[in-house]
Assembly symmetry: C2
Homo-oligomer: 150 residues x 2
């Protein structure tokens, strides 16, 4: 069982809280936070294309892909926990992708196995990354019978 | 126009990012983050009752009340921005309430003018507070024509 979280930015952005969550997640599953550089192009489409190329180099075709997308599917934390466990057991590795400042290319959204939504609101990429880590931690705690989820 | 955000916890929990957001929000509206102590009771209902009493002492009856509730109404950031502006103009002061570890008493949920949802998932009270500040900042930037919301 392995969880990879891809994001666009710099490793220096990773906060103490995120480091702590990675450590806690690590007690339940192998986990890796993978930093990809932001394309930094002004044009939204070109930026998305460039970031897609970077992602495709790092993310193997056969891996199970979960992309964060505000237009995607919402699930509550219990349902997400059950799903995450199933994906890990069935697929071995689950890759989460948090888009950059200009969002993800349509091809990535279409290629994804799951488009996961954290509600209708728009979140910064930094906060979306933290939210992803918090939910993965919560999901594994729920599955492991921890007392974190009340 | 004044925004108050009530939360249960300690002022020492307020992160640098939250301080930064408060400062930025402050350029567009008067803003206050009000810390109430957590009741710290084991029993969920008693805990909620105690925290409700604390809140009622601080939150004036006539103020417009927005409570964070995962079962509440979802809106996207543009819609939230329009609503927040209307509430501020019409009501003068808008109070947000982020529940404690055991959530908010039913009476508060029922008394609220708006129950606002950040999606179906459960968030920690610390993260919910940060998410609230980020959305308020984003909402005021959208309304003010800032370049933050892409």
């Amino acid at each position: 069982m392995k969880i990879k979280i891809f994001f666009f930015g710099k490793t220096s952005e990773i906060t103490e809280r995120e480091q702590e969550l990675l450590k806690r997640i690590g007690f339940r599953s192998e986990v890796e936070l993978v930093c990809l550089p932001q394309a930094g192009l002004q044009n939204r489409i070109k930026n998305q294309q460039k970031e897609m190329e970077l992602l495709n180099k790092k993310c193997v075709q056969k891996e199970f892909l979960v992309v964060l997308d505000e237009g995607g599917r919402e699930m509550d934390s219990i349902e997400f926990s059950k799903n995450l466990k199933n994906w890990l057991v069935e697929q071995g590795t689950v890759c989460f992708v948090v888009g950059g400042a200009y969002g993800l290319a349509d091809e990535i959204l279409q290629k994804a196995n799951i488009r996961l939504s954290f509600g209708s609101m728009t979140w910064t990429r930094e906060l979306a990354r933290l939210m992803t880590l918090e939910q993965i931690y919560r999901a594994l705690e729920i599955d492991g019978g921890g007392r974190f989820h009340k």
